[in-house]
Amino acid sequence: MNLQIEMNLIQCLVFIIAPFYASGILRKVRARVQGRKGPPILQPFYDMVKFFKKTPKDNPNSGPFAEISPALAVYSSLFLWSIVTFEWVPFLLIPFFLALYRFSLVSFAMETATSFGGLGSSREILLSVMAEPTIILMILVAQSHIEISLTPVGALVGILFLILSFIAILAELNKPPFDDPRTHLELTMVHEAMLLESSGKSLGAFELAYQLKYVSLLGFIIKLAVEHSKIIYNTDLTLLFREAVVLPGILVLSIIMGLWEGISVRRKWSWVPEFMGLAFLSILILGTLVKLS
């Protein structure tokens, strides 16, 4: 009983704390890599508070989707984050809330009928078409009881699997080499291009949704790694460890992500389908190898 309470406490802590610092750390590390001081770690949070205090100004073409999309994006991301943290329903539902999140963004951008909104939507769909099968496959593995053995081959397969999964998550999060959010040039962006017409609390809601999605996917990959390896033994403490490792795990991955954003560039779009197709096939082959082993 005590163990359950401790676990729930850790989960609640992770649920509340991680979205506040993860994105801030990424921005801080990225700035340091580029030789800048960077904003405070809680800057994304301060920005959101500022946005939520302001009344949005909408595009002349905006319609009903502009009114519901921001809240819908927060709803879907909140669900995602709660599934990853508390696991109150299976991970299998993650792709569907990602779909809801994506739909809310694309509908918002398309309704405003700006060239950037259209361009961002088109690229978002391109990335999703290629990344979603891989993410589905990852989640299937996460949901199954496949375990990677502690042999050199097993470890290699496991690490390769995690790297490929991480690449799919980079695509889903619109990070380099798929997108370049730091440029602030609308022509090179996906996520930001779609939100160009949002302002005030609508923009705040979209930002909040993105932060939640970001920590959800990082948290998910950490749980995927811990759950399916035999790094820890199956005792009561294992469950505690599994929950406790999420918070520092997100911290480490955010630092890696910051370093990566600081040194990498966006690749050309024609490269994306080929690369993601290859990633999907590789994950499938690795999955088959794990199953065969």
Partner: protein
């Protein structure tokens, strides 16, 4: 009293509504008079009759908004269509089955009566009659042959009639030229009939698992092919045909797994078999309701714009002045958004895939390669609907785009028709805990699976409440202040909003070009049709010149007579017992 309760626009169409309604509901009524085991083996047929009774009403409402001429003939066509299709369910293994199927198919000539029978409509009707004729032929063979031999003909007939992978090429042809109400009725009722027939008569009798082992990989390829072709297609009606091919093949996939593992002793395999049986019904409801809805809604804007290609119709749905939330319900379902029946179906499929991965080695490894095709097909198929909806209903239309005037009365029928379909798309997931108690399917729902479905139902309920409150009360945000952020040259609206091809073109080089020609036709289907054309043009080899001479008639008569004599001689020798072991 009657005139107060029933709105005027319904009163005007009441005589037609009653006759068409009676024709679509009467087979269901007749089924009660038969000694049917509706909670057991006859459940698939009973369900088919329920669907057609309901869709009969929705299609009628849609006809009132879609057609402005020949409504009497169209209604007469639907009376014959619904009644004969219903009778196909009731007559069982008898000669009446192919006869009623043919009557249902031929009634579409009346349903097409407002189209003017141009080239496209003739091709559409011909494709429908051809597929139906071949199916009826095989059904006839099943009727007259003993059970153990005839069952293979009964397997082939539904595969052809439903548009199974490899037999599907007629379906896009039908969609190209048919009126949308007919296409919706075909997708919702006519295409599911063969599947239900197979489930009722073939699955309980067929002991040969090889049939399922053949259906499974072909269905996987069909999902892949249908989804990708739909994503890149330029004609909205053909796009929906390929989406239908994807859905139908998914239904065949469910049946194949149900049949393959049915009767096994291993409890895991029995679990899979039972769960895929339930998934079949969930997907059937999804396909029947959502595809009918899509064909109605997309067909409506195609009709109003009188255009053919998607890119030309950018933003046309916005001019209708009907809520995009209503017009988009089926798109939400195909985009697998939580709260819709499409979500329940796809989520359950993922759940069962995770179960398959946990199975012992031999059984599950063969499914992994199939996943490549299935996942890509499902994902691209879903995005095909997003591409349709966002470009047709969310983009800003050009002021030069001309659209037929839609009266308020016609709009009321649109709302009634789409509302009747959309209601079930969002209510079925919430009603799952009660639906699963239906005695015909309850024995197949195992405890683990029930827990999963209840979770999915709960999620759907929460999402539905959230979205409904958001749409109804707009409590988060209401558009009050508008401002244009000029990013160059003061362009705003139609010049900048994007057409559908902007979604698909970036993927064309890496994916689309292997499946579609530059004109937007399916490479595979075009090749099959070209092959057929070459076979049918075989007589051209015998023709001496392109310009016919008088004496050519006697030459052609000679060829025809020889062919006829050869045929008669073959029949004679077969009757003597030659060529038959």
């Amino acid at each position: 009293m009657f005139s107060v309760v029933v709105p005027k626009f319904i009163q005007n169409a009441l005589p037609h509504l009653l006759v068409v309604g009676l024709a679509s509901v009467s087979p269901l009524g007749l089924s009660f008079a038969l000694d049917w085991d509706t909670t057991g083996r006859d459940f698939p047929l009973f369900l088919g009759l329920v669907f057609q009774a309901y869709l009969g009403f929705s299609a009628f409402a849609f006809v009132q908004s879609y057609e402005t001429e020949n409504q009497k003939w169209i209604s007469a066509g639907y009376v014959v269509f619904w009644f004969s299709l219903g009778m196909c369910y009731l007559v069982g293994k008898s000669i009446w089955l192919p006869i009623f199927l043919e009557v249902a198919t031929f009634s579409t000539i009346l349903i097409y009566s407002s189209t003017g029978f141009k080239d496209e409509q003739i091709e559409s009707l011909s494709a429908l009659l051809l597929a139906s004729g071949i199916s009826a032929l095989f059904l006839g063979a099943w009727v007259f042959l003993p059970d153990n031999e005839g069952i293979y003909f009964l397997t082939l007939a539904p595969l052809i009639k439903s548009g199974f992978s490899g037999f599907h090429f007629w379906l896009p042809k039908v969609n190209e030229g048919g009126p949308s109400h007919a296409l919706g009725a075909f997708a919702g009722a006519l295409e599911i009939f063969p599947l239900l027939l197979f489930l009722r008569y073939v699955v309980p009798e067929l002991e040969d698992k090889l049939v399922y082992q053949l259906i499974f990989p072909l269905a996987s390829l069909g999902i892949f092919f249908g989804g990708i072709t739909a994503f890149f297609h330029k004609d909205p009606k053909s796009l929906l045909a390929y989406s239908s091919i994807e859905s139908i093949n998914f239904l065949w996939l469910c049946i194949s797994i149900y049949g393959m593992f049915g009767g096994e002793s291993n409890s895991d395999l029995v679990f899979l078999s039972n769960s895929f049986y339930i998934l079949f019904y969930l997907t059937l409801a999804h396909h029947s309701l959502s595809k009918t809805f899509q064909l109605f809604s997309i067909g409506m804007v195609v009709r109003l714009s009188k255009l053919k290609f998607l890119d030309e119709m950018k933003g046309i749905g916005r001019s209708l002045n009907i809520s995009p939330f209503l017009m988009g319900i089926a798109t939400f379902s195909y985009s697998v958004l939580p709260g819709t029946i499409g979500f329940v179906s796809e989520a359950t499929y993922l759940y069962l895939n995770a179960k398959i991965l946990d199975m012992p080695l031999g059984r599950s490894v063969f499914l992994l390669p199939a996943m490549i095709f299935i996942f890509f097909g499902i994902v691209t198929g879903g995005f095909a609907h997003i591409r349709l909806f966002t470009s047709l209903f969310l983009s800003t239309p050009s002021p030069n785009l001309k659209m037929e005037y839609v009266s308020e009365e016609r709009k009321m029928w649109i709302v009634l028709s789409f509302g009747s379909l959309g209601f079930w798309i969002v209510i079925l997931p919430v009603a799952l805990p009660w639906v699963l108690k239906i005695s015909a399917i309850a024995p197949y729902v195992e405890p683990d699976f029930l827990n999963w479905l209840l979770s999915v139902s709960l999620i759907s309920f929460l999402t539905l409440i959230f979205v409904t409150s958001l749409v109804a009360f707009r409590w988060f945000h209401q558009v009050k202040y508008r401002k244009f952020w000029d990013c160059g040259s003061n362009y705003v609206g139609p010049e900048l909003s994007i057409p559908a091809s902007v979604f698909s073109e970036p993927l064309r080089n890496s994916l689309g070009r292997y499946f579609l020609t530059k004109d937007g036709n399916s490479i595979l289907d075009q090749s099959i049709l070209n092959l057929f054309q070459k076979i049918l043009d075989f007589g051209g080899i015998l023709v001496k010149s392109t310009k016919n001479q008088e004496e050519d008639i006697s030459f052609y008569l000679m060829v025809s007579s020889l062919a006829l004599m050869l045929l008669l001689a073959s029949i004679y020798f077969v009757s003597l017992g030659w060529f038959v072991s």
